[in-house]
């Protein structure tokens, strides 16, 4: 990685790296190179598997009791389930409930990855655009295929604005097509940039603490505040990703 001016000034401490972008570096733990594809087990892959594993563990142990009067953990799991189910039903109606498992998986995976990134010295899987772009692309392709399966070629009527006067329709159609294809771009960048920005801010303040010596308690107070905000942002970004998926699904299922 090219040494920027900032990194050159501050990376002289023994062991600790104050460069705020160092935390996003992907480390190759077990290189598995098949020649045409690189299946290496990286720290990103480890934390993604860990997020999935922890979510599955939580749901299995919470529902293993399955009593009519729920225990605490079962209430949490049921609360999560009901929350996402209501979200899907309110956005897409009863027809959208068929796709509830996909949205539930998306929501819990992103929530797990975001929250796992709040642990010190861990790695935030969703802070890399490679991960969020694939999540958003999968949503985009899924929703488009569902739209074509449901409405056939008539799905293209999504782009033809019926409520506008006749002469404006071609212009609006072009704008509608462009905004439809921009959806996965904004969908992915929103999640990735939020995660990356939050953690980069935390590391920059950490650099201030190291540089200020005794007065470093002031940046520490700021770090506490920003960490609290980061927890909120982690949950909200997972929720926003899921609910935007529901909104796009609604557009595909019932065209307007």
């Amino acid at each position: 990685m090219r040494e920027t001016a900032l990194a050159a000034e501050k990376s002289t401490d023994g062991g600790f790296n104050i460069d705020p972008m160092y935390q996003f570096e992907i480390k190759n733990w077990i290189p598995i190179d098949l020649g045409f594809v690189d299946l290496s087990f990286t720290n990103s892959a480890f934390f993604a598997f860990l997020a999935v594993g922890l979510v599955c563990l939580f749901l299995w142990t919470a529902m293993s009791g399955s009593s009519l009067v729920p225990s605490r953990m079962q209430s949490m799991a049921e609360g999560l389930y009901e929350f996402v189910r209501n979200m899907v039903r309110d956005s897409c109606g009863e027809a959208g409930l068929k796709y509830f498992p996909y949205i539930f998986t998306l929501f819990l995976f992103i929530l797990g990855c975001n929250l796992l990134g709040m642990v010190p010295y861990s790695f935030t899987v969703t802070s890399h655009f490679a991960v969020t772009v694939f999540l958003a692309l999968s949503v985009f392709i899924t929703v488009t295929v569902i739209g074509f399966m449901r409405h056939g070629v008539g799905f293209l009527g999504l782009f033809w604005p019926m409520d506008a006067p006749g002469f404006m329709r071609p212009i609006l159609a072009v704008i509608e097509v462009i905004s439809y294809f921009v959806r996965p771009v904004s969908h992915s960048i929103r999640l990735g940039a939020n995660m990356m920005a939050g953690h980069a801010v935390l590391k920059v303040f950490g650099g201030f603490v190291a540089a200020l010596g005794v007065f470093g308690v002031i940046p520490i107070a700021a770090i506490v505040g920003v960490t609290a905000l980061e927890f909120l942002v982690a949950v909200i970004q997972a929720y926003v990703f899921a609910i935007l998926t529901c909104v796009y699904l609604h557009d595909a299922l019932h065209m307007h």
Binding site: L6, A7, I189, N194, A197
Partner: protein
């Protein structure tokens, strides 16, 4: 001398990119303020619109995050 001017350009660009976050702040405040005034008029209907509130805040905030991203990219990834 050449490297220094390049770095100066990075810093100036990053500083200029941060101006965009002012717009995001105004936008998020606008959305939240409108929600608040509507909720105070009609508290019963406010509960079901919290989802719309969060979506609106996320959309407005995203643009500010994009500009912060540009600043970070200029500082550390160019």
């Amino acid at each position: 001398m050449e490297g220094d001017i390049g770095n100066m350009g990075q810093y100036i660009g990053a500083g200029l990119a941060c101006i965009g976050m002012g717009g995001a702040g105004i936008g998020v405040g606008h959305v939240a303020g409108n929600f608040l005034s509507g909720a105070l008029r009609n508290p019963a209907a406010a509960q079901e619109q919290t989802a719309t509130l969060f979506i609106g805040i996320a959309f407005a905030e995203a643009l500010g995050i994009f500009s912060f991203l540009v600043a970070l990219l200029l500082l550390f990834a160019v």
